[in-house]
Amino acid sequence: MGFREISRIGVRYVNRIDIPVSGPIVEHEMFLNVYPKVPDIFGPLGAYAVQAVLPIGEIGCKLTLNSAAVPSPILDHASFLFDQDIAKEIDPPQSDEAIYDLLNKIRVQKNKVFEACITDRARELFKR
């Protein structure tokens, strides 16, 4: 019958960050480092979604980063999705050992990316 080669190994981490709000304006830039930059004359954003695709040269992977404002499942909060997809599509490992090794490396990168994309104000939220 033969066997099929693994053509892509990827992992996806989707986080939602809930920011407490007390008024109509949410200062998402105080909590996140990934958001669209628009001219001030436009005023506050009603909603947004951004995507960035970046190489992670260290491990030969591609990072697809999505971030968007989403309806919050809880009251008095604004919610933002932070979605990372890290994948290796060129010469992905085929053996178990190499695959697990790659997954561990991807996890390390994922943590680095996440920490880089949030501010200390956001970190305080997680400590509560």
Partner: protein, 236 residues
């Protein structure tokens, strides 16, 4: 009956989907089909035509007798449900499965806001939900818990953060009910879909019982209850 506007056919179009995009059997190549299709549609005017007729005509035109025979044999291999089966062929699901699915769905919903609930609270909540959906106690004409109702409940509980947990119940329609009782003072809240709640307070006043009821948005629940000293129910 579904209708589609059919424009002029052109030779040379590679692959075209007709009908449901998921239906691979309807993917046709138009190469060499012009004659068969013209024959099939010679009685029909171009323009709006029933899709059903279109599909049948295309099916007959496109597939050989050998292919149609093979398709019939594959269909025959599917085992039909036994006439004695307790499961209705149209959407019937055993009760235990229905109840399990309903509670599983709301537990998954809870997982999406789990960071806002203490673990012990969540565990107890799940046990209460399981108890409400015990098949041995289940009322046949009732609906299991509705996700939309539970979403409203979660919003309320996370905002109010009661130290005392409520007793839970379920309405006929599957809307969650939370009840707090302090001696003769009672608060009952029914969580409706679309972030609505209806509530009733019962308490004795000058030896006469008093009942106050209302309906509001879940975002206004705390404010609405404030005049009635809700801390008698919510604090430990």
């Amino acid at each position: 009956m579904t209708k589609k506007l059919i424009g002029p056919l052109s030779i040379g179009t590679s692959l075209v989907s007709v009908g449901s995009p998921q239906s691979a059997r309807h993917e046709l190549t138009y190469y060499g089909l012009s004659n068969a299709l013209a024959e099939a549609f010679k009685e029909l005017a171009l323009g709006e035509i029933p899709l059903l007729t279109m599909q049948s005509a295309l099916h007959a035109a496109a597939f050989s007798e050998g292919t149609r025979t093979m398709e019939r044999r594959v269909s025959d291999l599917r085992i039909p449900p036994s006439p004695a089966s307790l499961i209705s062929p149209i959407g019937g699901q055993p009760l235990e499965e229905r109840l399990f699915d309903a509670t599983a769905n709301v537990k998954i919903l809870t997982s999406q806001i789990a960071m806002h609930l203490e673990r012990e609270w969540r565990d107890k909540l799940f046990r209460q939900l399981d108890s409400l959906h015990d098949p041995k106690e289940w009322e046949p004409d009732d609906e299991p818990i509705q996700q939309a109702s539970f979403a409203t409940f979660l919003k309320a509980i996370i905002q109010i953060k009661p130290k005392r947990r409520p007793g839970l119940g379920l309405s006929h329609a599957g809307y969650l009910i939370a009840a707090w009782t302090d001696k003769f003072d009672r608060l009952t809240i029914e969580f409706l879909p679309n972030d609505r709640v209806r509530w009733v307070i019962g308490r004795p006043r000058d030896d006469e019982p008093e009942h106050i009821a209302g309906q509001t948005r879940v975002s206004r629940l705390a404010e609405t209850l404030a005049p009635y000293n809700p801390e008698i129910w919510f604090s430990s």
